[in-house]
Amino acid sequence: MKRVLTVDDSASVRQMVCFTLQKAGYEVAEAVDGKDGIAKAGNGKFDLIITDLNMPNVDGIQLITAVRKLPGYAFVPILMLSTESQAEKKDAGRKAGATGWIVKPFNAEQLVAVVQRLVK
């Protein structure tokens, strides 16, 4: 079973990502902020990461930068899930190594479709 890590300081958003992807047959782990996300990514192998942008301790951009340096994560897809939709923020995400950007709230069906495509 493919493994997905969801990183968000909002419990309800994490629960919705888990709910959506578990229904689609993925194993989903949760991290409460960027710091927790980096630790969990380092301790396990994930096929895809979905991360929030604005989080306490370590934000989404910092998380991507750190995760990309972890062994085996250079090409793992990372999606940013944020309320932000400004072009400069997206650009910062892309430069840090994000694979894609989703403006909250996400559409469950489309998220599953993209995840399926990315972890195929």
């Binding site: 958003v13 629960q15 919705m16 709910f19 309320t83 950007w101 709230p105 996400f106 489309q110």
Partner: protein, 579 residues
């Protein structure tokens, strides 16, 4: 601006901030409870969809799908079966009645034959007397006397046999006629009743199966609706995260507003633009809170609608379709049983008619044989007449009496020919009757029911499959009901969460009311405050912490004095933009 107004403003904002903090805690609590209940509810929904999907699988099974055409074929075959037999039964009584008349005619023939046999016997006696008178001269006529004696004996035997058979057959025929006259109307009634009830059962089954076959499409629609509703709830719950941020931003804006409306600062700077910024801040926060209210309304409605959809599938026809079809299958099986017993009854009628036909066949054989014998007898009689006349002419006057006998033989021969013709006509009628009865028997016999038999077999198998499918659907339906019962408890919890969200509206309204009142005070003090808005500066001031496009759009609407009503556009959720 008066210092009193500023004091009221800072007090009002402090009270509004407390209200918003309460709102954040309450929403957090409501959403946490809702997410838990919703997660459990969707698991139950998955169970229900799984059970319903199994029902649909059964319905879509090929063998169940074939039931309707098979039953329709059975209906058509049974209708043909009944119609043919109804038509046949109308001819049976008339055939048996015609046979009775024919037997009377045959009795007349046998009576005439008996009389001829007697006449020949008398001629034989006369011949013997004449032979005795003539002495050695009449020795040639001795042969004639013996021939007449043989002929009379043979004719008597043949006539007796025909009479015996005719009587036997008449008795059997009367019995058949009596039975048929009582039972035929009953059979016809039965045939008509079976046809009527079968057609009724077919109609009912047809409508039941039509409903059953609608189940897959209905299920698909329900499943799609639920999937969409669940997706809507997923978006709604995420909406909470956005709302939380918006509420935090509103509270941050309160700090800015307070600083702008601070009397000291306003008096020191003497800047009217500070007041205008504060006024604009109040307008923006009123709009932001209205948008938040709209969002929460959307969630509550989405959640209620989703729960409603989930319960709708539990109450759908899909659950009730099993018992309905089972009931119809029972009624259809009863019809099959009726057809079966009717077939047996028709078969037994066929047997009765077959015995009648056998009697007629025997009789026709006998008459045929009798006619053949008659033909040769008539030829012999003609030969005897000719020989007697020749012999008598040799003897001259001595053989006058023999000439009289020869004339007598000639008369009998003519009479015999007439009777033979009569017998021939009777035979033709017997053969025609035989054909008619044979036709009726064929109609009633098993061999001609092959279509019906095949249709029965196919329907029987189809109904067996339908019964299993319907029983399975009943079982799944019961399970769905059990899961539905469990879901009620969870739906009550969701209801409580929704009610908690509803109480948020009052708080938002109260905060908006405070902000409106403050805004009005400012406008009372300074009528031209709105005209002094520096929009670029205000946007920079209040949107620094904004993270959503919606917040920015609300801000712009507030500044332009329009109402933002685009929150619903976020209800479907956003797609992924891949880099």
């Amino acid at each position: 601006m008066s210092s009193t107004t500023n004091t009221i403003a800072s007090g009002g904002l402090e009270s509004a901030r407390r209200d918003l903090q309460w709102l954040l805690r309450t929403m957090e609590e409501a959403i946490a409870a809702l997410v838990t209940s919703f997660g459990e509810l969707t698991k139950d929904t998955d169970s229900i969809l799984g059970l319903a999907s199994a029902i649909v699988g059964c319905v879509e099974d090929e063998s169940v799908n074939a039931v309707l055409p098979n039953v329709q074929a059975l209906g058509a075959a049974a209708k043909r079966f009944v119609t043919e037999r109804l038509q046949s039964t109308t001819g049976i009584l008339s055939t048996v009645t015609a046979e009775t008349e024919l037997l009377s005619q045959l009795s007349q023939v046998t009576e005439s034959q008996a009389s001829i046999a007697l006449k020949i016997k008398i001629l034989n006696v006369h011949t013997k007397i004449e032979v005795a008178h003539l002495g050695t001269v009449g020795a040639g006529f001795d042969y004639l006397a013996r021939e007449l004696a043989d002929f009379s004996r043979a004719l008597t035997l043949s006539t007796d046999e025909l009479t015996r058979h005719t009587n036997q057959h008449r008795s059997a025929n009367e019995k058949t006629q009596s039975v048929l006259s009582v039972e035929l109307p009953h059979l016809r009634e039965q045939l008509a009743a079976v046809e009527f009830s079968l057609m009724g059962a077919l109609d009912v089954l047809d409508s039941g199966l039509t409903r059953l076959f609608q189940a897959p499409a209905q299920f698909k629609r329900s499943a799609e609706e639920i999937a969409a509703q669940i997706a809507g709830v997923v978006v709604a719950v995420q909406g909470h995260d956005i709302t939380r941020q918006q509420l935090e931003h509103v509270q941050q804006a309160f700090d800015v507003i307070t600083s702008k409306l601070d009397s000291k600062q306003a008096l020191t700077t003497g800047s009217d633009s500070e007041v205008a910024s504060g006024h604009a801040g109040l307008s923006i926060q009123i709009s932001q809170l209205s948008a938040i209210r709209e969002t929460i309304t959307e969630w509550a409605s989405q959640i209620q609608s989703c729960v409603g959809s989930i319960f709708r599938i539990s109450a759908s026809e899909l659950v009730g379709v099993g018992p309905l079809v089972l009931e119809q299958e029972e009624s259809m099986s009863a019809q099959l049983f009726n057809i079966d017993s009717l077939e047996r009854e028709c078969k037994s009628y066929g047997e009765k008619l077959r015995s009648t036909l056998n009697g007629i066949s025997n009789l026709s054989e006998l008459v045929k044989e009798h006619i053949q014998k008659s033909e040769s007898a008539r030829n012999r009689l003609r030969l005897l007449t000719f020989n007697s006349v020749v012999e008598a002419s040799h003897l001259g006057e001595k053989a006058d009496a023999i000439c009289v006998i020869a004339d007598g033989i000639a008369e009998v021969s003519v009479e015999w020919s007439k009777i033979s013709e009569h017998s021939g006509a009777a035979l033709q009628e017997i053969l025609s009757l035989s054909d008619r009865i044979n036709g009726v028997i064929k109609t009633f016999s098993r061999a001609s029911n092959e279509d019906l038999q095949k249709a029965q077999d196919k329907t029987s198998t189809g109904l067996k499959n339908l019964r299993s499918a319907a029983s399975f659907a009943v079982m799944q339906g019961k399970r769905i009901e059990t899961v539905t019962d469990a879901m009620w408890t969870k739906s009550k919890e969701i209801e409580r969460s929704s009610q908690m969200l509803n109480t948020c509206f009052d708080r938002i309204d109260s905060v908006v009311s405070v902000l409106e009142s403050m805004k009005l005070d400012l406008e009372t003090d300074d009528a031209g405050v709105r005209q002094r808005y520096d929009e670029a500066e205000i946007e920079r001031l209040y949107s620094a912490s904004y993270t959503t496009q919606a917040e920015r759009e609300v801000l712009r609407s507030a500044l332009s004095g329009t109402v933002f009503s685009g929150m619903s556009q976020y209800a479907t959720g956003n797609s992924v933009e891949l880099f």
